[in-house]
Symmetry: C2
Subunit: 139 residues, 2 copies
DNA sequence: TTGCGTGCAAAGGTTTTGCATGGCA
DNA sequence: TGCCATGCAAAACCTTTGCACGCAA
């Protein structure tokens, strides 16, 4: 697990953002705006490069939600074994909200896919699409 | 379910392509190239506009695979109830292949999400990410 | 001093949009 | 004739890349 050769101010700024928003979602642009409001300029390219590195290290997860919205990232900290993970994402196609779900039963899917289909599921990367509770009731 | 007001030659061409490739995936660009090879020019904008209409009608499904590859479409024909569907997609993060899976057990996920989480899953739109059989063995 | 990290601007690729033209009814 | 659909080009969008400069070690 190779860390950056140099420790820069920008890296620490981004890391402080990650710590503060742990458990929630953000885009590269979110980070840029966050610091812009504090009179700090962070190049968007730098943010993407740092995030890419953290994704490779497994500390940050990346989601492709829609084709025309920016990629969502999530800071999860140290790398976790997929098997142990019960953390899933539900995306509502109607209101656009992204939900977190912790659920044993969903973890069984991973087990099933592995045994029956030889497919090792990556729950960090997988997003379930559909209509959420609120939007179902309205319709 | 509002159909096109006018029936055009381009619509029929696209429909003929859909019938021929039923059950497999394609991109907007695939359609354009397919007809270009037959000396037929179809504007890419026209293809996107027709596909968008068919997606709205539920005859064509759209997948967001990666952020930097083109969207995948699939022709499924007349609208189907989600509940009855056992059709799932697995995307390998390593080799990039997209697999179709027909599986009862996976249909139970939809049931679970509905009952326990009030979330109506759209299996057409949902893609499972992970590592496929072949790539697991190589590693 | 060495060379990695940064920031700017430009490029990259897919999808959408504006607008004049063509074709369906 | 009236109006929708088409096709071209330009725009829009997010992300990556090239390059010169700055900064860490």
């Amino acid at each position: 697990m190779q860390k950056s050769a140099y420790r820069t101010k920008q890296q620490e700024l981004i890391f402080s953002y990650l710590e503060e928003t742990k458990g929630s979602h953000f885009t590269a642009e979110d980070i840029r705006v966050y610091f812009e409001r504090r009179q700090i300029t962070l190049g968007i390219a730098t943010i993407y490069r740092q995030l890419e590195k953290l994704v490779t290290e497994g500390q940050v997860q990346k989601y492709y939600i829609d084709e025309h919205s920016a990629s969502c990232f999530e800071y999860t900290g140290e790398k976790v074994s997929y098997d142990a993970e019960k953390h899933f994402h539900l995306k509502c196609q109607n209101c656009g909200k992204l939900f977190h779900v912790e659920c044993e039963e969903l973890a069984e899917i991973a087990e099933h896919l592995k045994c029956e289909h030889g497919f090792e599921l990556n729950p960090f990367r997988t997003v379930f699409y559909g209509i959420c509770k609120d939007c179902t009731q309205v319709k």
